[in-house]
């Protein structure tokens, strides 16, 4: 099963990955990181196809996609 790892400390909550994920499986979490952002998390592992689009659009280079 594909897996998406997000480095919560680097995420700046820009929402680009959330917007562009074709399966709508990313969401802002309730956590707060050191910079004060609420990092994004994978909410629906089942849905994720490991397409890598989230990583492609992430300007913070903080998403790893495993397949």
């Amino acid at each position: 099963m594909p897996k998406v790892k997000i480095d919560a400390e680097r995420c700046k909550q820009c929402m680009l990955c959330v917007e562009f994920c074709p399966r709508d499986c990313l969401q802002v979490s309730n956590e707060t990181n050191l910079r004060g952002y609420h990092p994004v998390e994978l909410t629906d592992e089942e849905q994720c196809t490991g397409c890598g689009i989230c990583a492609l659009v992430c300007p913070s280079v903080c998403i790893e996609v495993y397949r």
Partner: protein, 260 residues
Amino acid sequence: MAEETLINPYPDALTEVEMRYCPGCTHGTAHRLVAEVIDELGVKDRTVAIATVGCSVYAYEYFDTDAVQAAHGRGPAVATGIKRVQPEAIVFTYQGDGDLASIGMAEVVHAAARGEAITIVFINNAVFGMTQGQMAPTTLLGQRTTTSPTGRTVEAAGYPIRICELLATLPGVGYLAREALTTPPRIRSAKRSIRRAFETQVAGGGFSLVELLSICPTWWGMDPLEAVEHVEERMIDYYPLKVFRDRLAEEETGGGESDA
């Protein structure tokens, strides 16, 4: 999950230093694409990155290559100095629209005219990001900035400059394209162009430049998604996405410049 592999390894040519860009700022995306291309071409140890002055001034901290920080607008001249001393080096500048299209106009035009074998990654976000959102030469008509508070007008500030169209008139240019860092397909296309630009340098095919339409949510007063839409709806209209020249391809197909 033993068979799982990382499909997007963190680029070798990027350091671990966290980039200081605002949330959503596509400077970060551009950095990643450039770093991936450097990795793919295997030229990291002979690459020299030229950081210029703008939000990307710390690029020398982000690219894990030799690097030189250049005076505002003078990246192409600095790159020229390096390349003429070390012809084996792969030299690229990373410049914003203030840096390249405003103060650095003479240097970029002349480097292109000379066919200087360097690559330029040109981030067009239609604003001076670092200095608090002033009008840039690329600011669209009607766009509000901190120094065009009621929107840019032709009377006060003239027309936005299209750098690719300008440079396309110069035979020294080997690769020239405009891309946008907005949607996934466009980002993929942007990477292809960046790669092509570096390949042109590696092959000795002359000057190469890729213009990347980029967002500045902070000074556009938009969130990143609105900013992406603004590029799609307004900027691309004035700045059409296009490969203006690809001399390597032209040579392969036997086409190309005839008038130089």
